[in-house]
């Protein structure tokens, strides 16, 4: 409870941040240094470490509660213990998150008094709500964690505590996220006078709040999963018994599984966010990928690509512990080629600031051939390819220890109901978007009426996607599920990656604003395919005979280093994106409203930025390691790992 008080004290101090704080002897102090160090880098590092801890603390409860629920519904105790393990990590990180929040608040008040005066004027009401929510979250977290054993017989009550924890967490995220979003897309400010005249809600729900919230929520879950997997990997490497190794192998796998499941949605949440940033300010949007931050975006693309590659590699290594997986090994080379081709295109830049000499070297401002691969249609196509390839790895993994598929007719009413729901949801969303495009008014995109002809092929292709979904479902019902899956995956690849990928270039030249709709069409088609193929797969293999039991714990050490690398890459990526998000404002504290007039209001070089980011990530990982070590000190006396791990091994 002390930890919660720490945070509240920090915010009480924030509430006291009055303009008077900024005045010394009548002169207004706008900026201060941190013991001679520049305030910008100081706040940057503190904020980033706080945000990384915050992401973990808000991300982990989402899947911890989900796993506890799965354990409760299925009666599989392993999930319950895993959820408890994840929550133990959470408990350790929570206090540090709160302390860092206090430190960040103090740093902002003391280093940026002018900014904080304006910011307090806009958000002062939200500070109290935030503090109140923090109380709720603190109480919910500790109640959830400490009542685990006591409420074993009243699992529903315990799960509700978890839900309360998540509700408070998301509400906290909504408010704190809105502060950051507001700095990029201020609302309620009078143009000309630059004074805030809006309401608190207007400020909280500013134009970028929701896109950021969505992206952060997904990002937090992915990040939480990978950090938990890293913890499991370190524990695996240090395990003294086969049982312990089995437990942490499974924990690492589940952390990675959580991350992969979320990762499928992240590129599109990112695309949506980027689109909204561009809509908020084309200057800021263009600067993001075509201006000062274009190289940082290439580094980000590299990190995202590496995460996908490593996730696939981990799944392939994991197949080594599954009897029967050797039947599918031959497909891996095709998936590898798809992922690497996609990665290469994903990484290809288009618009970079180049010197005259550099332009001469490549024969113009961009490469004559590769320039096409740098454009958005190519990126949209290959990210779909990479996701489809990763999904294929996942399918192979989950089928590995199963003998041939079981006839769908043997799955009973539950199978038919699930298939119908999946068909309605997947087909419904694609159909609905096809109708939207059919009725799309070109004027709403600032296009001439005759450009409506460009929309037609996309709408028709979506209708074909719906038809393919119907075909896949019908074949499944006719006990040809495997064929239905193949047809749907094949068509989705053709449609979402190849046809719309190429057609995107046509759209770019004739109706560029419509490209956004093309990207959404590609994604919805892919999503519908993943949903329906997964549901079919579950019922095809649910009652299938096992080839042999999974040999948990029998993983090579390099697989655990893959998990560690994944966590490092994800953390670095979050820090890179955090820097880009903040840096896009350039010389503005609050974009277009409150200018940064300090000597540190410049965009640093990539070398400086990457050094600060890497040191920040190192500090975070070091602190996280310390927290986990401390949490582990008291674990031995009460840990159920040994007994529970034995149950996994013998399961």
């Amino acid at each position: 409870m002390k930890r919660g008080i720490q945070c509240v004290l920090a915010f009480a101090a924030l509430g006291l941040a009055s303009p008077a704080l900024a005045q010394v002897g009548g002169a207004v102090t706008e900026y201060r240094t941190f013991f001679g160090m520049d305030p910008r880098t100081t706040v940057w590092m503190i904020a980033q470490i706080h945000l990384l801890f915050g992401a973990f603390v808000l991300g982990v409860p989402i899947f911890a509660v989900l796993m506890e629920y799965i354990g409760y519904r299925t009666g599989d105790r392993r999930f319950d213990h895993l959820a408890q393990d994840f929550t133990r990590l959470l408990s350790a990180a929570f206090a540090t998150t709160a302390a860092l929040g206090g430190l960040l608040t103090f740093a902002l008040i003391s280093l940026y008094p002018r900014f904080m005066t304006f910011f307090t004027e806009v958000f002062h009401e939200t500070f109290y709500i935030y503090a109140g929510l923090f109380f709720v979250e603190t109480i919910a977290l500790y109640s959830y964690y400490y009542s685990w054993d006591r409420l074993q017989k009243r699992k529903r009550a315990h799960l509700w505590l978890g839900v309360l924890l998540n509700v408070a967490g998301v509400a906290i995220l909504l408010i704190s996220n809105s502060w950051a979003a507001y700095m990029m897309s201020p609302a309620g400010v009078e143009q000309g006078t630059q004074q805030f005249t809006g309401s608190s809600w207007e400020a909280v729900w500013n134009p970028l709040s929701f896109p950021f919230l969505l992206h952060r929520l997904l990002g937090n879950v992915l990040f939480g999963g990978l950090v938990a997997a890293m913890y499991a990997a370190v524990k695996f490497l240090n395990a003294r018994s086969g049982a312990e190794r089995a437990h942490y192998d499974w924990m690492g796998y589940m952390g990675n599984f959580v991350a992969v499941s979320t990762m499928i949605f992240l590129p599109f949440a990112g695309y949506y966010l980027g689109r909204e940033i561009y809509s908020t300010s084309p200057v800021m949007g263009n600067n993001m990928m075509g201006g000062s931050f274009s190289w940082m975006f290439i580094i980000q693309a590299f990190l995202v690509g590496m995460i996908f590659i490593l996730v696939n590699y981990y799944l392939w290594l994991g197949m080594g512990r599954i009897p029967g997986a050797e039947r599918y090994q031959r497909y891996i080379k095709y998936i590898t080629v798809s992922v690497f081709v996609g990665f290469a295109v994903w990484l290809t830049p288009h618009n970079l600031p180049l010197s005259g000499e550099e332009q001469q070297l490549i024969g113009g401002n961009f490469h004559p051939t590769l320039k096409w691969l740098g454009l958005m249609p190519a990126k949209n196509a290959v990210i779909n390819l990479i996701i489809l390839a990763t999904f294929s790895s996942f399918l192979l993994y989950r089928r590995s220890n199963r003998k041939g598929p079981v006839a769908f007719s043997e799955q009973g009413a539950m199978g038919r109901i699930a298939l119908t729901i999946a068909g309605l949801v997947g087909g419904g969303m694609v159909l609905s978007y096809a109708m939207t495009i059919f009725s799309l008014d070109p004027a709403s995109l600032d296009l001439a009426a005759e450009r409506a002809a460009v929309f037609l092929p996309v709408a028709v292709l979506l209708l074909v996607q719906v038809a393919m979904i119907v075909v896949a479902l019908s074949l499944t019902l006719a006990n040809r599920g495997w064929l239905g899956q193949a047809i749907l995956i094949g068509w989705t690849f053709l449609h979402s990656v190849v046809i719309l990928g190429v057609y995107g270039f046509v759209v770019m030249t004739s109706a560029n604003p419509f490209l956004r709709q093309v990207a959404v069409a590609q994604w919805l088609s892919l999503l519908s395919c993943l949903l329906i193929v997964t549901v079919i797969d579950v019922f095809l293999y649910r009652k299938a005979e096992s080839v042999g039991e999974l040999r948990w714990g029998q993983m090579p050490a390099r697989s655990q280093y893959v998990l560690i690398a994944l966590a490092v890459f994800a953390t670095e990526n979050m820090a890179v994106m955090g820097y880009i998000r903040s840096g896009l404002r350039e010389n503005w504290h609050i974009y277009g409203v409150l200018e940064d007039t300090s000597p540190w209001a410049f965009t640093p070089t990539e070398a400086y930025a990457m050094s600060v980011i890497s040191v920040t990530v190192l500090l975070f990982l070091g602190m996280m390691g310390l927290m986990f070590w401390l949490a582990g000190l008291g674990q031995k006396e009460r840990s159920p790992v040994e007994t529970e791990a034995a149950s996994i091994e013998n399961a």
């Binding site: 990997a233 560029n512 560690i564 670095e572």
Partner: protein
Amino acid sequence: MRGHFAKVSLFAIALLAGFAFLGHVVTSISGGAVVAVEGVGPEAGEAIFWGKGTCYTCHAVGDRGAAIRGPNQGDTGPLGLPVGLRAEARATERAEQTGRSFTATDYLLESLIEPDAYVVEGYKAEMPTVHLPPVALDAEEIKAVVAYLVSQGGDAEQLRVEQSPLWETVKAATAAGAAVEPFALYLPGDPEAGRALFFSPELTACSRCHLVNGEGGQVGPELTMVAATRSVPFIVESILDPGASVASGFEQMMISLSDWSEISGIKKEETEDTLVIADTLGEFHTIDKSEIDELELIPGSAMPENFSELLTVDEFHDLVAYVLTLKGEAAAPATEGGSD
């Protein structure tokens, strides 16, 4: 235990050092210095175009730059002409559209300070206004950019920006951006009294043309959410000087019919054969297109411009106070823009 911990730590440190090194490699291989240029000539404009003005993030100039959000300003752009020559063709087009005389310089100045006034087909109306934050160019910088654009195919030596009727607007706008007193109404006003005025059929008769929460006419823009989407100064200006800014879709037109009669008002509906016009009395007229001799856009708003004479100071503030309560209950997309 220690062995593995050390290995894991070294592994993580090696990865992070690799990222830091990557940043150094990127910095060392790319970029080129940005040089500041003083003055108002094409060279200074070029430096602003490719620097502070951030124009290059949307526009390429011929082979230079790769941005495609906005039209290319070189000879690979629209009409196959560089912007210096293209501006002349656009000026002719703008003169026909507005009924005012337009030079190439006028067109370029308008494009910079009122970018939505004319949008090249195939592109979105999304260019920022260059004298406002975050770009915030001053009048001299705008002049330099115009000089640079004219130099793309045209003769910048012959440029006389100060002679453009828009130049005064540019100076006023950039000066306004530099120092503005906070806007404040003189009196708080009584919203209830204002509501009575709004719906009074005699004095203001606002509701004859404007819809609020389903009540009123549909000649002008709906005002159900106007206070949620528009600033106080804008609303005040829209009442006292409605012609200053006319909402898109509410331009006034004069129609001469073959029977020598005339109808003026706002176009509400158009089919292949007919046109529906709403006049300022709130009446709708369906006109057969075959009967139209001439159709002409009338500058300014259809809304009466004499509210400053009709209303006392108290009444005016009451009316404004009421309008400021209109933050929306019903969906009201038509409030966009607006001389209301």
